[in-house]
Each structure stands twice: as C-alpha cells, then as structure tokens.
Symmetry: C2
Subunit: 372 residues, 2 copies
C-alpha cells in the first residue's frame, strides 16, 4: 500500500511473496516488474497473466515462473542469516535508490537498517591501488564518515576495502554482486562481518547466486544510485570504476574524481573523468560543499517511465505486427515507436511487455529498446 503523504509503502506478507515470485521469474527485470505492476495493478495479477503475455510475445517455450514454494524457501533462508527483503519505497530501502527506474523491487538487506536511510557517498577505485591511493581513500572515508555520511562501496580489494575499513565506526554499506551467502572476494568475509555491526550490506540477487562478470557493472548502478555522489579515487584507463562513474552521471549523481600525476597510470582514468566534467576533489570538504545543496532538496523521481494508473490494454494483431516490424537490433525509443506505429502509448507498452516476457526484447537506458 502506498501512502502518498509519508512517501513510504508497506507490503503485506502475501504481497511481498508475490513481489518476490514476480521478480525471480524468467525475463522479469526491475523495469519489466514496474511495467507489469503498472499494467495489472498488483504482482498477483501479473503472475497470473505472465504465461499468456509471453506466448503472445512469441516465446518459443514458456519462461519459468518462480513458485510460491521457492519464494517461501528464499524468505526462510534469508531470515536464517539475518537478511530481510525490503520493497522499493518501504522504510529501510535507500531513498535515492528507490527513485531509479531500474531500482530492484526487493532489496536483500543485512545489518543495521537505519544506515540505509543516511545520506551516502560512494567511494570506489582500483583493486590494484597504490599506497597513496589507499591512504587517501581511508582519509576521505574517515572524514566523510565523521561528517555524518554513510560510505557505500563494493567490498572489492584495494580502494573499496580501504574506504569500508576507514568507516567501520561511522557506518559503511557494502553492495554485493552476488547473493548474501556468496561473498566476493571470499577473503573479505571478515570485513563484511565487521561492517555489519554499524553498517549494512545489500544485494538484489537471490541467495546462492555466485557473482559472474556481468553482475559487477549491474551491481555498480546500485552503488551510485543509492549515493548522493560517487568519488573515484584511482582508476586506470578503461577500468571498472569508470563504468560506475558513467552510471552515476546517467543517474544524475555527482561524479567526483581524485587527480594524480599524468605520469601515474593509475590516475589516467580519474584525470580523464575531470577532463570530461567530473569535479576534482582533494579533500572531504570538496565533496561536502558539492552535495550539501542537493541534500536539502526533496528526492525527485528519475527520468524513467511515470507511475500512472494501471492500464490494461489488448493490442489487436495488426498493431502487434506493426510494432514488431519497427523493432530491430538497433535501440529505438518508445516515443519513436509510438509515432511510427500510429498506435497508442498503452498499446505500444503492452506489446513491448509481451516481447520482453517472451525473452525477445532488451531494454536499454533512456527508454530505448531493441529486439534480441
């Protein structure tokens, strides 16, 4: 139930079970989840319609729908290791993360719940960091922690680790690329346990999910999305931290970079970021000065699809064929599809949803879609 005045939602146990089943079903990502909720009003109705929609979207064989038993088992396993599944918009869900159009509908949360409601600054950087980089990351995390910010990072070796360690007392948040029971790197299990006392760990992945290469950039959007801004401490050319910086910029988050000598390859990425418009920082005050004006503002919805009244619409066969014809491997915008097909926005959205559930559609950022 959404309370428009307090801005928070609280799910019933039955709703939470339906939400988990829906997001754990095949071909349902955070954006599709949101479209389905918009179309059908609630997760239960969406689950009932999934097979039919996927078939109309041209699925070769029906995708797996997460069973009630599997969902219950996940809740139970999570409970055993102190993990709660918190819904987007509920108290305990990081408020800035909740407004992203690809916010996880349910976040697996462990640790001190109040930490996730604090203003957060992300500190990320090279796994293979220099001594100076590690020292700077620690100093910055300590100073920002003392100033009341929670430090969010990725639990990786190098800069991430230094930032978490230096903010153990003030409170730090680790964002995991796999499930809560599949910590990566395994030698940071101790660090994770230590940070849970005053801080927290979050994941959108199910328990038992071991992180694969493509899970890390996906995870990085949560690091930047939950934060007011992201500080990149050291990064070589084409390093993973630069992906986090790009995501942060796309999400409208502040991007901060720590400069370094042009002769230091571990500063090449951060210097490049500054050339491209990131804010050069050399101390915590630079970060605080930049984010203070933002903290005062109410958190606004991202540039994603608007939450409207549920619209259930049955496209006719001609509409569906016309829209599928307009799609191809190159991303095209929803607006263009509406204009070129002559169909109503509701019809176009429904056809895209069917294709998505059939595993035939890929959603890109900025409302772009393509056929797989």
């Amino acid at each position: 139930m959404h309370d428009r005045r307090s801005g928070t939602t609280t799910l019933t146990d039955a709703q939470r079970l339906d939400w988990l089943r829906l997001i754990r079903s095949d071909n349902v990502g955070p954006r599709t989840f949101r479209s389905l909720l918009n179309h059908f009003g609630d997760a239960r109705s969406a689950l009932e319609r999934l097979p039919d929609l996927a078939r109309r979207g041209g699925a070769a064989r029906p995708g797996r729908i997460c069973s009630e038993a599997d969902a219950r088992a996940e809740f139970e396993a999570a409970r055993k290791i102190g993990v709660s599944l918190v819904a987007s918009g509920e108290a305990g869900y990081p408020p800035r993360l909740a407004v992203l159009d690809d916010a996880p509908p349910l976040l697996a949360v462990r640790g001190a719940p109040e930490i996730l409601m604090r203003p957060m600054i992300a500190i990320v950087g090279s796994r293979n960091a220099s001594g100076a980089g590690l020292k700077f990351a620690g100093q910055l995390a300590r100073d920002l922690g003392d100033a009341g910010f929670a430090i969010i990072s990725g639990l990786a070796r190098g800069i991430d680790q230094a930032a978490h360690r230096a903010s153990l007392q003030s409170g730090t948040v680790a964002v995991l690329a796999g499930g809560h029971d599949r910590i990566y790197p395994p030698e940071h299990e101790d660090l994770l346990m230590a940070l849970l006392e005053t801080g927290g760990a979050i994941s959108e992945m199910p328990l038992g999910h071991g992180p694969r290469a493509h899970d890390f950039p996906r995870r990085n959007r949560l690091i930047s999305g939950a934060a007011l801004g992201v500080v990149i401490v050291e990064a070589a050319h084409r390093s993973g931290s630069l992906i986090t910086a790009r995501m942060a910029a796309e999400q409208g988050r502040e991007v901060f970079a720590v400069p370094g000598s042009p002769l230091d390859p571990r500063a090449a990425g951060t210097n490049d970021l500054i050339k491209q418009g990131a804010t050069l920082i050399t101390e915590a005050a630079d970060v605080i000065n930049a984010v203070e004006p933002i903290m005062g503002r109410p958190i606004s919805l991202g540039a994603g699809e608007e939450d409207g009244e549920p619209v259930i619409f049955e496209p006719d066969t001609g509409d569906r064929a016309r829209i599928v014809d307009l799609l191809g491997p190159s991303p095209v915008s929803l607006d263009d599809l509406i204009r070129m097909s002559g169909a109503s926005p509701a019809v176009v959205r429904t056809v895209l949803l069917e294709l998505e559930l059939a595993g035939r559609l890929e959603r890109h950022g900025g409302g772009l879609v393509s056929l797989i």
Copy 2:
C-alpha cells in the same frame, strides 16, 4: 608611424630615442606612457610637457627625465650585446603582448627575432620541482615544440629550466626580470646563451637593472601576456606560479594546470587552479586542442583604455580639486570618478595623468586607481 592595414608600426630613430627617454623617466610606466602618447600625440611633446604636468599634479620635487645622452648610451650598450629595442606594434614585438594595456612600449630583445612572432605556450612552475614534475615539463615542452609552438618561460630553476632545455631545438623564449646583462639565476647564463641560437630573450628593464623581488611578478605578466596560454606544471599553495596563472586569467589567456596527488604538496596549487576553473591537462594534445580555435582568430585589443585621437585638455582648478578629493588609498574606477566628479572623461584622465607623473597615483588592473 602606424600602418592600419598591415597592423605594424615602424619608428624612426628619433622617435625610438624619444620613446626610450619617456619610458625611462620617473613615474612613467607602460600605462602612463600610453596615456601621454594619447594626450600629446607623440613622445617628444610629452617629454616637453612632463615637468609642467608633474608640478600641477602636486609633485614635491620634479621627477628625473631621462636625458638624450642616457638614452643614446642605453642604445649603444644594448647594440654591443646584440639587444634591440623593439617598439610595441613593430614587427619583432610579440603580437599578443602588444595588445595588453600595460604592454612595455619598448622591449629589449635578444636572439632570433622570428621566434617572437611564433604562437607561444608558457610553461612555468615550482623552482623546487619533483623529478616527475621536471620530467613532465620536459616532455610537454618537447611535444609542444614539435607541434610548432615556441615555449616561453622565466629562466628560473626547476620547471622553467626543464621547459627551456627540452625546447632548445624547436625554439624557446626566456623573459627576464632584470636587464639583459643581469641574468638571474647567474648559473643559468649558459642556458640563456644556448637558447639564444634558435630562441630569444626579452626584458622591459634597462641594462644594469638587477632584478628585485617585486620585478618577478611584474615580469610574469609578460610571460603570460605573450602566450596563448600558460601551463602550470607544479605549484605549492601560494607559490609565485599562481600569480602568473592569475595574471593569465586577467589577460584572457588560457590557464592550464597539471594535476597531482592530493597527498603531494607540490600539486596543491595546480589542483586548486583546476578547482577554480583552469583546464586540467595531462599531455600536449590537451593544450593544442584548447588553443587551436584561438589561433585562428585575429588578435583583439585587451580591455584597456581605447586608443583614440590625442586629446589635450586643461582642467580648471575646481575640477582638479574635486577629482583629488574623490581619490584615496582604496582603488576606485575611472568610470566612478567621472560619474562622481561630474567632470568630462578627458578632464579626469588628464588629472590622473598629472597625479601619476607627480608620483602620487597608483594604477591597478581593470582601470582602477588609488592615491599613494
């Protein structure tokens, strides 16, 4: 004589002698020189009127006027060590320098004259530079030299020296804070002799003038003024290179700064410059990309006083008293003086000139003046 079509002036020998006498006379700086020429049409008339103007400005005792004999002696001594006195606007005078409102009327020039007509980039920084800073300065100077730019700097220890040395082949320009026969630091005499083969050295000071502390910031305006842009390679907080950067910005020159680790005190000044809006650079291409669009444009006049027809105006005693009353130790603008005194611009300018020649007026940047 000024040829408006070619944009160059050529002085006769007699005019050059008068120019030298005027700029070497007491209380005549580059801005006063220009005002006098505007008022009286030529240097000879100005020289004749100097004692009278200074007396009306309230000089306790008349300032020394450089004699014809002293001026001839300076020309002769300069000729002996291969130094020419080139007038602002003449061929051989750096074109970008000529448009500053405090451009030296005569520049003492030594070396290969064509070097001063090339597009220049200034490279400056700490005397107490790090190995990395010296290496970077050398590499940058070499790359910019290879790209056709003359490298201009201050012949100081550290970054200046590294920049000059690395551009000996392509051509480099040293700007001296003292006269051409008073090289500072003395151990760079060899470097100076080496750079004169393909490059040049310039000074606005008379021969025999040993550089004092306040001559260095004054000299720095020539380094930035002659260049398209200034690169600050390493600079601590409150270092002299930051004065050059400030002057460059005031002159409308590009300011480039080389980043460094926040833990390196020799990068504190350059990182600060970037925070304040200087362009972060890590390689010659960054500089070239930024100045290329400027090079195409005709060199425009600075924001100084406009060159108009000579206006000779005799203020009455009431005007003079009113204007002097409005002046004090705090800088005030010419516009404010005109508005508050109710006198015409020509009258205000004349009174200021008289005060200046009496040694009672100080001119600041941006058309501001104060009483001494």
